[in-house]
């Protein structure tokens, strides 16, 4: 109980204060997020990589992106797993604190977009908690929810692959957080125009 009281005078890291201050203005920038995780439990599992793109004026800005592989030494050590596949990756490698910090700076006050985005947000929140930060304040849109709203379907969830097939997006054989984020971004553009969201 009264946890929030404890937090009221808590000193947050600087990057978090900057992040909070960004929300004084409303953003027209969307950020598509996709994370790869070690499992489905936000309390125990960790983020392994993040792929993310910005959408401005109905177009994906390829250059405005964030991609990173998180070197979860502690997690792998605790669980007795090998993290070689992460070390061997050619992507930019960061420790979790640094990656989350950069990611928070990247998203700013943008609206987050993702496929089953609640889970991604939960994972990021768990990582933020480890850094003594609060929870994400961004609005978040889920493309699966958008799709179901468009077709008035309530009793079913759709995987990213199913959505790609439904909207004619070529499925590539390469699989990564960035790849998923790009597909999600295309789906978002298509759904956005169909739903008439400005």
């Amino acid at each position: 109980m009264l946890d929030w009281l404890k937090n009221i005078n808590k000193e947050y890291p600087d990057f978090w204060k900057t992040y909070i201050s960004k929300f004084e203005k409303k953003s027209s920038r969307f950020v598509v997020v996709s994370t790869e995780t070690s499992g489905l439990n936000p309390d125990k599992d960790v983020i392994l990589s993040i792929g993310s793109f910005a959408i401005i004026d109905n177009s994906i800005v390829i250059g405005d992106n964030f991609e990173a592989v998180l070197l979860q030494y502690k997690f792998f050590h605790d669980n007795g797993l090998s993290n070689e596949f992460l070390v061997e990756s050619k992507m930019k490698k960061l420790g979790e604190p640094e990656a989350i910090k950069l990611f928070i700076e990247f998203i700013g006050n943008s609206v987050l977009v993702g496929h089953h985005v609640d889970f991604d947000v939960e994972m990021i929140n768990a990582a933020l908690e480890r850094l003594d930060c609060g929870r994400l304040k961004n609005e978040a849109l889920d493309i699966d929810v958008m799709h179901r709203k468009l077709h008035d379907i309530n009793d079913k969830q759709f995987s990213l692959e199913e959505l790609c097939v439904a909207y004619n997006i070529p499925v590539s054989d390469r699989n990564s957080a960035a790849e998923d984020a790009y597909k999600t971004a295309l789906l978002f553009l298509k759904l956005k125009s169909r739903l008439g969201i400005k």
């Binding site: 109905n58 994906i60 390829i62 250059g63 004619n168 960035a178």
Partner: protein, 638 residues
């Protein structure tokens, strides 16, 4: 590190001009790209819009480029994956001069000009590519293939006036004409002309043209005996010559020739006959300049060495058909021209296969069946053909059949490369079943016609529309004899065909609405091929066989002929003939618009008047059906 940027660079490097750049450069460009999704019919930019800060590459889908003139939208070009458009901001400061609209849901990459400009400046090949494509202001279909990557010009040209535009192109002409001087002897000059295969020679004094001698002069002044061959050329030359400046347009040249009633024009430095000769324009040059002339196309087909060349010509035929229709040239005439060119293409394909395989071991005939057999193929539909070879000794049969199967496979493969899809039912000369000896074919037709329905699975009525494309005419005649011998008093066969013709669903519902597709990818579209054209085609075939009319395969002409032979029902036949043309036109326009076979008409895109026109064209079908029912007792199979 940006994974997606690398994927995009991977995509771009397949296309011009990006293939001139290194992967690192492409990655850098890709990093600055914006990806835009365009829903169907979304306009990216339109005439008079301010220039965007980027140009575009199609990633997927189709973008139509068009101009709007006199309230009519004219399609200039279609851009497919890898095509570049919207280059105007590179070279010009004024607003867009065309409209870019998504024909289907599409994704395009927007490449910022500021990012790309340094690469253009540093790489002359890229610059040239962009300049060239921007400078081309008419779409010369001849060059379509040569323009690597099919880059699309950004200047305005009207495709429906394309052939008129050609008139204002400057001509390509002979810039090294034969020359001689006034003292030369006619006999020597004639020898010189013969050797160099020219029909004209300019008589000059220090390169100043004094006169010209053409074949006409030789005929009218020498062959008639008016002058001996030993006099000097000045006696017979036509003088003065009609001179023009360089860069004369086709239209101007044609006018001058008509005005002065000459066949050659002399090009001089300043356009008068007091300056140096630069070249000779002959009537032939004018013909060649009109590249889409059907005669020229056929001539070129005969010279083609590869499927690729033939494909270019087939593309030009599409343009020819499109302009012909937009100029309201009677469709029956267009049918004729198109079928002659198609025929020549198939013939050449067979020839190419023979050149490759060596001469055939027996005489044979390659028959086109189906739409090409009826000479009704305007669009690139699928290919149907059969191969009949003469009977050979039993011990040779295997080798012979083997050769012809190979020939069939090669030819159909060539045709597929040209753009004629393989027949989904396998009705092709490459199929074991449809590549047989004359005896086997005779048996086949006998069994089809005398016991229809028994093994009707492989009987398709298209086998009764055949046209010889290549080979021995006698073989076709033999098959014709078999067919017409079997037709006599064969009620069973007519019963079968009649039922086949009537089995198609009616095009209009009880409430006189169009019967549209209820499901599938073509939902809510009207299937003009099965519901409207096929009944007419089947009906026409049925009656021509019944009235023993031979040698006429075209549905339109069949109806015309029927109205003469069976005057009692002439009105019905003539209505059907007209209806057939109208329906074909609808189908062709739809096909040209969408680059497909035009089988499904999107009714929503038709104007109200067009819809009524289409509906009216469906009415004569009823009368034809009634006629079939009353004429043939359709009992056995119904």
């Amino acid at each position: 590190m940006n994974t997606i940027a690398e994927h995009i660079a991977d995509f771009l490097k397949e296309y011009s001009p990006f293939n001139h750049l290194s992967f690192e450069e492409l990655s850098e460009i890709a990093t600055n790209i914006r990806v835009v999704n365009l829903e169907k019919n979304k306009i990216l930019f339109q005439v008079n819009d301010l220039l965007h800060d980027s140009f575009y590459v199609v990633a997927s889908g189709t973008i139509n480029l068009s101009v709007i003139a006199d309230a009519e939208e004219t399609l200039l070009n279609k851009c497919f994956a890898g095509d570049i458009f919207g280059l105007r901001p590179f070279f010009a400061k004024n607003n867009y001069m065309m409209t870019a609209k998504a024909r289907e849901e599409s994704i395009v990459y927007a490449i910022p000009i500021s990012t790309f400009r340094p690469f253009v400046a540093n790489n002359s090949e890229v610059l040239n590519f962009l300049l060239e494509s921007f400078a081309v202001n008419t779409r010369n279909p001849k060059d379509k293939e040569n323009l690597i990557g099919k880059l699309i010009s950004d200047n305005v040209f009207y495709s429906d006036q394309q052939s008129e535009m050609q008139y204002f192109q400057s001509l390509v002409y002979n810039t090294t004409p034969l020359k001689t001087n006034v003292t030369a002897i006619i006999k020597d000059v004639a020898q010189l002309m013969t050797e160099s295969l020219k029909n004209n020679i300019v008589v000059c004094d220090n390169n100043i043209p004094l006169g010209i001698i053409t074949d006409t002069d030789m005929r009218s002044k020498i062959a008639t005996g008016r002058y001996p061959v030993t006099v000097s050329v000045d006696k017979i030359m036509s003088s003065p010559v009609i001179t023009v400046v360089e860069n004369v347009s086709l239209a101007e040249a044609q006018l001058l020739m008509l005005k002065h009633n000459v066949t050659h024009l002399c090009v001089t430095q300043d356009g008068t006959d007091k300056s140096e000769v630069k070249g000779i324009i002959s009537e032939h040059d004018l013909i060649v300049a009109q590249a889409n002339n059907p005669g020229v196309l056929i001539k070129e087909i005969k010279r083609c060495q590869s499927p690729k060349e033939l494909k270019q010509i087939r593309d030009r035929l599409t343009d020819l058909i499109q302009t012909s229709i937009s100029k309201n040239i009677p469709l029956s005439h267009v049918f004729n021209i198109a079928s002659e060119i198609n025929l020549a293409i198939i013939k050449r394909s067979v020839e190419l296969s023979i050149l490759d395989l060596g001469s055939p071991p027996a005489r044979f005939a390659w028959l086109s069946i189906g739409s090409q057999g009826r000479k009704e193929q305007l669009l690139l539909t699928d290919q149907d053909s059969i191969l009949i070879f003469e009977d050979v000794a039993a011990d040779k049969y295997r080798d012979v059949k083997d050769y012809f199967l190979k020939l069939g496979k090669k030819t159909t493969a060539t045709l597929e490369k040209i753009g004629y899809e393989l027949c989904p039912n396998g009705h092709m000369g490459s199929n074991m079943l449809w590549c047989k000896s004359l005896t086997d074919w005779t048996k086949q037709y006998d069994s089809w016609m005398n016991t229809p329905g028994e093994n009707s699975n492989d009987l398709s009525s298209i086998f009764f529309d055949y046209e010889i494309t290549f080979g021995e005419q006698k073989i076709e005649d033999a098959i014709g004899n078999v067919v017409f011998k079997n037709v006599k008093n064969n009620t069973l066969f007519f019963d079968f065909l009649g039922n086949d013709a009537l089995r198609k669903n009616s095009p209009l519902t009880f409430f006189k609405k169009f019967n549209v597709e209820e499901e599938g990818p073509n939902k809510d579209k009207f299937d003009i091929k099965t519901r409207a054209l096929m009944p007419l085609i089947d009906g026409a075939r049925l009656f021509t066989l019944n009235f023993d009319i031979r040698g006429i395969n075209n549905t339109f002409q069949r109806f015309k002929q029927l109205s003469i032979i069976d005057p009692k029902h002439a009105e019905i036949y003539l209505n059907c003939a007209e209806a057939f043309l109208t329906l074909s036109k609808f189908r062709t326009l739809e096909g040209l618009k969408n680059d497909n076979s035009g089988q499904f008409i999107n009714l929503e895109e038709l104007s109200k008047i067009d819809r009524e026109k289409l509906k009216n064209a469906l009415l004569p079908m009823r009368e034809l059906e009634e006629l079939i029912k009353s004429k043939f007792q359709l009992t056995q199979f119904s």
